[in-house]
């Protein structure tokens, strides 16, 4: 698409310089950390940092960069990846079930408290999570679930819920209600209309929502850092800062750990970017 014309070639140059600067500033840290993860400690130790990698470090493992070998041979890191997948996965499934039902009611049924319920759910995303860690800590101790996956999943559900509900709400509203009405005329009740018609029709929206909820839960740090007591349940967000302590001088390993955790996120975001942008900004534009 081409935009409005520029008044002078200089304006055009200035405009594209600014855009280029923005793109470079955004991408630079990722590329630089990628570079740190593949070069030798000697290259990192140079007085003038190199921009382009020169000496690749493959000493310990042929065909594989040493830093990645360090990261993947670390049992704590591998366990942390599993923990992150479990916590984020269960959170996502529960949020999708609870959230899709609520979003459907908010999209289709006109009940008195509708907009109040909607505001209440939205208000959660403005709520400071840190305010409830003390009471939750005591309660989880009493219930004996401190240090288990559930101690993270339970609060994660609450804070991921507004994201799930508002994304799904936007998708359900886009869907014409005609088909559901037809189903109801044929004798389907509202639950049947919901899971036999609305859910299958909005499958792409449900997938995108699930993915964003997963990323949200994957990135959570405060509850994980508070309620996961050791490496059997700690997710990657907790383990990576510890990595910086364990491998204090091994910057390559720290960089490699950061790359391993963020590469899948970058891929997901680029694949689903169009849907993500429309979903995330739907709430703000209205």
């Amino acid at each position: 698409m081409s935009g409005k014309s520029f008044e002078s070639p200089w304006q055009r140059i200035a405009f594209f310089t600014l855009i280029a600067l923005f793109i470079v500033m955004t991408l630079f840290p990722m590329l630089y950390v990628l570079k740190i993860s593949v070069v030798t400690p000697e290259e990192l130790g140079r007085a003038i940092p190199t921009l382009w990698p020169r000496d690749f470090d493959t000493t310990r493992a042929p065909y594989f960069f040493t830093a990645y070998e360090t990261v993947f041979s670390d049992p704590i890191f591998k366990q942390a990846l599993v923990n992150s997948v479990v916590v984020a996965g269960i959170t996502t499934v529960i949020c999708l079930i609870v959230g899709s039902v609520a979003a459907y009611a908010l999209a289709r049924i006109n009940f008195v408290f509708r907009s109040s319920v909607q505001s209440l759910i939205l208000a959660i995303s403005f709520f400071p999570a840190v305010a409830i860690i003390a009471p939750l800590f005591l309660q989880f101790q009493t219930f004996g679930i401190i240090g288990t996956y559930w101690a993270m999943i339970i609060p994660d559900i609450l804070f991921a819920l507004p994201l799930t509900v508002f994304l799904l709400l936007a998708y359900f509203r886009e869907l014409p209600a005609g088909l559901e009405e037809a189903a109801k005329v044929d004798g389907a009740n509202i639950w049947q209309a919901f899971y036999k018609i609305t859910i299958p029709l909005s499958a792409p929206g449900v997938v995108t929502t699930g993915m964003l909820t997963f990323i949200f839960a994957w990135n959570e740090f405060l509850f994980a850092n508070t309620f996961a007591l050791d490496e059997t349940t700690q997710p990657v967000t907790v383990v990576i800062p510890q990595f910086a302590t364990t491998y204090t001088t091994d910057f390559g390993a720290q960089a490699a750990a950061a790359v391993v955790v963020t590469a899948p996120l970058v891929a997901l975001v680029l694949i689903f970017q169009r849907r993500i942008v429309s979903g995330l900004t739907a709430g703000a534009a209205k």
Binding site: M1, S2, G3, I19, F22, T26, P29, M30, Y32, V33, G45, P49, L51, V98, V101, Y104, A105, I109, V112, S115, S116, V117, Q118, S119, I121, L122, I124, F126, P128, A131, I132, I133, A134, P135, F137, Q139, I154, P155, L161, V165, W191, I215, F221, L222, N225, T226, V236, I240, F243, A244, T249, Q254, A257, A258, T262, L265, V269, L270, A285, K286
Partner: protein, 311 residues
């Protein structure tokens, strides 16, 4: 956004039309199903959100030692407000919030206006803007810490070359605080820009056309057309960012090896690390909760006056 426009259930109930409508809801099977459908979400909010907040407020007036509680009155708050660590937490968090939100807003408006202009590569630029948003904050902090290191750290090298700093950035608390602002600006400006862009894209083009016919130049157009129409999006973005910055935790935690205190790290240290300061940490948590409410009320009033003025 429906925060401001929504009446509280209580206010809406003033008048018997409300009760009649509520009775109507429960007489109608479809609308009754509506309540059933939102009830799991409401239950979660009640049990995991509302109840802990009440519990947290109660705890802040207690002395908690090894799960035994006894009434402490305002002791926790008195200790907190005279604690130098709490003072530095308030100062650091305030500096961080004001600087990062201001920078993100100014840069975000600029980027949103640029992307909104429309050009070849617009879609790709928007996609790239999303990437830092998807990163876990702790991982962003670790990435930038690598760039701030003395060994192989390009930011440290540049900062020394332009004589911004004389020693290692991460060895100075003050420099680390500004470094943290920089990381937050990197991570969040693109997202602020996308929120504002969504607001810009719903402004109809003929409004600008009219302004141009009236002889308004680009700056006047921005001031008299863009800003007022963009105000709801601006308020939402500012509210969201300010509250987020006010409760900053991950970034300070990972950037400074736990040396630079924020309000949230103060809470965490009390609740999770210290054996004796559990309720002190909880009092600070209540402080964050109450101040967040004040901040939210401030912004929502800003939005409310807007909608009232515009009709």
């Amino acid at each position: 956004m429906s925060v401001a426009s929504d009446a509280r259930p209580g206010e809406r109930g003033s008048g018997d039309g409300f009760f009649a409508r509520l009775r109507g809801d429960f007489a109608n099977s479809e609308r009754r199903t509506g309540y059933t459908m939102v009830s799991p979400s409401l239950l979660l909010i009640l049990v995991i959100g509302a109840w802990p907040v009440i519990y947290a407020i109660w705890l802040s007036f207690q002395r908690v030692i090894a799960q035994e509680t006894s009434f402490a009155g305002l002791d926790n708050y008195a200790t907190m407000f005279s604690d130098p660590r709490f003072h530095s937490a308030v100062i650091n968090t305030s500096i961080f919030t004001v600087l990062s939100v201001a920078l993100e807003f100014v840069l975000g408006v600029g980027i949103a206006l640029a992307i909104n202009r429309g050009f070849r590569g617009q879609g790709a630029t928007r996609a790239i803007a999303l990437i830092p948003w998807a990163f876990p904050t702790v991982v962003s902090a670790i990435m930038w810490r690598l760039m701030y290191q003395q060994t192989g750290g390009i930011m440290q090298y540049i900062a020394e070359k332009i004589q911004l700093v004389s020693g290692p950035i991460l060895a100075s608390e003050q420099a680390t605080l500004f470094a943290a602002v920089f990381v937050d600006v990197w991570k969040t400006t693109p997202f602020v820009a996308l929120l504002l862009l969504a607001g810009l894209q719903v402004i109809p083009g003929d409004v600008y056309e009219a302004a141009r016919v009236d002889g308004a130049n680009a700056l006047q157009q921005f001031k008299s057309v863009t800003l007022p129409l963009l105000k709801p999006a601006i308020v939402v973005a500012l509210l969201f960012r300010t509250l987020d910055a006010w409760r900053v935790f991950d970034l300070f935690w990972a950037m400074s090896d736990r040396t630079v205190e924020s309000l949230s790290t103060y809470v965490f240290k009390g609740v999770r690390i210290s054996q004796t300061e559990f309720s002190l940490g909880d009092a600070a948590a209540v402080f964050i909760f109450v101040t967040s409410l004040v901040i939210a009320a401030f912004f929502i009033r800003g939005l409310g006056s807007q909608s009232a003025g515009e009709g």
